[in-house]
Amino acid sequence: MFRILQVTLLLLLAVAVNAQDVSRDDIRGLDEQIQDVKKDVIDLTATLAQLEEKLLFPSNTQVALFVSVADEKPFELESVEITLNGEIVAHHLYTYREIESLQKGGVQKIYTGNVQAGAHPLQVRFIGKTPSGKDYQANASYQIDKAVGPKFVEIRISGTESEINFKDW
């Protein structure tokens, strides 16, 4: 009885091994095709993004605002609100991953829009806290001088110093 079981098991194993051999090739082939399609979709997305930018945010009116965190000490940014020309154009609540990304040096493109050439008032407000739970918040104003080309402004938040700095790029 035991021998019969052993033989059956061996046969089953042999079949399983063969099946695995075949499927291993299938897996490799499929994986390569998936890599190809990923590459193609990445290229396609880049083209589409360029088209979108050209169509929706032409360079003569484009203004883009970026948020970065300057803190050396741990600081958790909770929310940022941006008012451009007296209108709230962005209000962002940060997830843990986003906070972590900002802390590692990532820069968030928080708003892209269109404005005429000229001066535009910008107000920024942030709320955040340190890991110990101490709350920080600050407001700051800035004037965006929009010229012919696209305008990029970095909003650099120093949370623990309740400070916001602006940089034209």
């Binding site: 399609v37 590459k39 003569n60 493109k109």
Partner: protein
């Protein structure tokens, strides 16, 4: 028991290393990112920072798109070295490779890194590239290719990847069976903070595999004695203990094995197998009462776990060994109930997968938002019981399939959104066309008139400017005469001409009057020349300002005019082409998703069927064992009944009876007790002799109603 415990051990070196390699792969990404962060490199390109914002969130697709775009723009520049992005170029190129690797685009990652290797870069950069290429090969389970890549490294390796490179080299050696070299490398790496625990684990395994049994055990024991509040670290220590405990039990070192199982955290992912192992150590030593302690704990845990299901048979088996047959029968009965329920769940799960519910759940939005979504999806109606798939899902291949499937679905959804966007763009374009086209001809007409006036003014300005320039070289007071003075000057000139043509026709008084008038005019022009010149220059500058304003308006108009035209012309063909490309990509994505999905389904069904057949086999064994327990319980009951009758008989008969039972009764009792273990179930004979190798699940089995027993 044999299969789970053996796989627990034999798998460690192979499977766990692969699992570790996966962990370490992402770990190295993170650590390099952290190190890069530590270096506090100032951001010189805003868009590089924006790409890294995605990368740090493991949003690989968007990060790759952004970085590819930046790199392509950079390489299109005439003098790229002047662009601020050049500061981040090296990091960007490596990051793309890393991100592509994380996005499971090994070939692209390989190509990107090979491009760096072929480029004109320093040896240090080349070494880092070679290391990264080796990592890709290792990740693709091609250790020989990984070694070839590592052999390209010459001289100094950048500090931030030096330890990782050595660790990778050691693991490659282990994969290739060059264990002594691996051991040497790993010994050197001990104390490396970023690889703490992983080095010791691999060193212990390498030593065990290379025959340095005592050293390997010592290394792993030291590691296993550690404690950490970090669940990842603790899981490694638990795994180490489980590995060693199983290894020692297999080697028959039962007394040594038990503490290792005891050290495994009771709440950790390896606790079930540790409790099972701890019980088997005691059972193998014949201490069934002590075996019951961990087994009873395990018995009350999640019923879908393989160890828990096994222990459902192990517990009554131990009770049987302790001659508590009624309790054994109750437990066999419970096991049978549980197995029956689980078999139904498994059958329903298999049907659910075959109906496509599993893939449907994987495609839901929560899949990317909820941690451990695959486990959580069991809560959805008609979704399969994913707890049975945990082991399968922990395997690298299956993880890869799941991620690929989700990636494909994500790409499919993104493309769907793009298709919607393209339709919206076409609407925008037609709205713009409808607005601008009727306006532009009138605007152009007005513009042309304005343009003519601007040109005239500019010509006048140029003329005026030329005159002033001439006056700076030679004095020309007449240029600065007012309109009246000019007129007077011309009249005087005319009169002078007439006098010279006909001198006798004019009186002396007229001639002297003319000369006086000429003198007055010349005097005025001459005396006021400097003041007038200064004023003229000032006027020219004012005029220039006005002209500049006109030109600004002119340029602004031209730009607006162009922008208006560009806002709706030249897009249609582009959009049509892109739409066709998206449709083609969607077809490919659908086809690949179907293939990947069917692989996922097939493997899941295979796993569930395996577990179902295992449970069915447990069920059969439990039924036999239950019947046997009943028999034994009945026998005991009968014995007790007989004893009671004898007692009654004794009481009824006043004369003294012999103190001992008759010899035939003694013989029957002894025989029953001796035969008991072997009569549990015919197949269980060999398995009960070596419990750790043959699970009770494979041996005995009950079918009972608990209350009967």
């Amino acid at each position: 028991m044999r299969i789970p415990l053996l796989s627990a051990f034999s798998g460690v070196a192979g499977v766990s290393l692969r699992a570790l390699s996966f962990t370490l792969c992402s770990f190295s990404l993170l650590s390099s990112a952290a190190q890069a962060d530590d270096e506090k490199e100032e951001l010189r390109d805003l868009f590089f920072g924006a790409a890294m914002y995605y990368a740090h969130q493991e949003n690989y697709f968007d990060a790759i798109v952004a970085l590819d775009n930046e790199l392509a723009q950079y390489h299109r520049l005439d003098e790229p070295e002047l662009d601020p992005f050049s500061t981040h170029l090296g990091q960007a190129e490596f990051s793309v490779g890393d991100l592509e690797l994380s996005y499971r685009m090994h070939r692209e990652a390989g190509r990107a890194i090979e491009a760096v290797l072929k480029g004109n870069v320093s040896q240090e950069v080349r070494n880092e590239a070679a290391y990264r290429l080796a990592k890709i090969h290792y990740h693709k389970q091609q250790p020989l290719n990984a070694l070839h890549a590592l052999e390209m490294i010459e001289g100094r390796v950048p500090l931030r990847v030096r330890a990782d490179e050595q660790f990778l080299r050691a693991r490659v050696f282990m994969e290739l069976g060059r264990l002594e070299e691996a051991v040497e490398l790993l010994k050197d790496l001990k104390g490396e903070e970023s690889l703490d625990g992983f080095v010791e684990f691999n060193l212990g395994i390498a030593q065990l595999k290379s025959g340095e049994e005592a050293r390997g055990v010592l290394e792993l024991t030291t590691l296993g004695k550690r404690r950490s509040s970090n669940p990842v670290d603790q899981a490694l220590y638990d795994k180490t203990n489980l590995l060693l405990g199983s290894h020692l039990m297999e080697a028959g070192e039962l007394e040594l094995a038990r503490p290792y199982f005891d050290r495994v955290n009771l709440e950790g992912p390896f606790s079930n197998r540790a409790l099972l192992g701890a019980g088997w150590v005691e059972a193998r030593a014949g201490r069934y009462d002590r075996a019951l302690v961990p087994w009873r704990i395990l018995q009350n845990r999640k019923g879908t776990n393989e160890a828990v299901q096994e222990v459902m048979l192990a517990v009554p088996y131990a009770y049987g060994k302790l001659d508590v047959h009624s309790t054994a029968a109750i437990n066999y009965g419970r096991a049978l109930d549980a197995f029956g329920r689980e078999i139904d769940t498994l059958t329903a799960s298999i049907n659910s997968i075959r109906q496509g519910k599993f893939l449907e759940a994987l495609r839901r939005k929560e899949a990317t938002q909820v941690q451990n979504w695959v486990v959580a999806l069991r809560n959805l109606p008609e979704a399969p019981e994913t707890h049975y798939l945990l082991d399968l899902m922990a395997s690298n291949d299956y993880q890869e399939f799941l991620r690929n499937y989700r990636d494909l679905n994500d790409l499919f959804e993104r493309n769907k959104e793009w298709l919607k966007s393209l339709t919206a763009y076409e609407d925008i374009i037609s709205a713009r066309r409808a607005y601008y086209e009727p306006l532009l001809p009138q605007l152009d007409e007005k513009f042309r008139a304005l343009d003519a006036r601007i040109k005239l003014r500019m010509e006048q300005r140029d003329q005026f400017s030329n005159r002033i320039e001439q006056m700076l070289v030679s004095r020309r007071p007449e240029y600065l005469a007012t309109a009246d003075e000019q007129e007077a000057r011309l009249q005087l000139l005319q009169l002078h001409k007439e006098i010279s043509r006909n001198p006798k026709g004019f009186t002396e008084e007229t001639r002297s009057r003319l000369a006086r008038l000429q003198g007055i005019l010349d005097l005025r022009l001459s005396t006021e020349y400097h003041q007038r010149l200064t004023e003229a220059y000032r006027h020219l500058q004012e005029l220039n300002i006005e002209i500049e304003k006109l030109q600004t308006i002119y340029r602004s108009y031209v730009r607006s005019r162009q922008a208006a035209t560009h806002s709706y012309t030249g897009y249609n063909k582009n959009i049509q082409r892109l739409r066709a490309q998206i449709h083609a990509a969607q077809q490919r994505l659908e086809m690949l998703m179907a293939r990947q999905g069917s692989m996922l389904e097939a493997l899941a069904v295979e796993e569930l069927e395996r577990r179902r057949s295992q449970l069915e086999s447990y069920q059969i064994k439990a039924r036999f064992a239950l019947a046997d327990s009943y028999d034994r319980a009945n026998e005991l009951q009968e014995q007790r009944e007989d004893e009671r009758k004898i007692e009654q008989h004794r009481e009824a008969q006043p004369e003294t009876l012999p103190e001992h039972n008759p010899p035939e009764m003694e013989a029957s009792e002894t025989e029953n007790n001796l035969q008991e273990p072997d009569e549990v179930e015919p197949h269980s004979e060999t398995q009960t002799v070596t419990p750790p190798e043959n699970s009770p699940a494979e041996s005995e089995a009950p079918e009972i109603e608990g209350d009967k027993a």
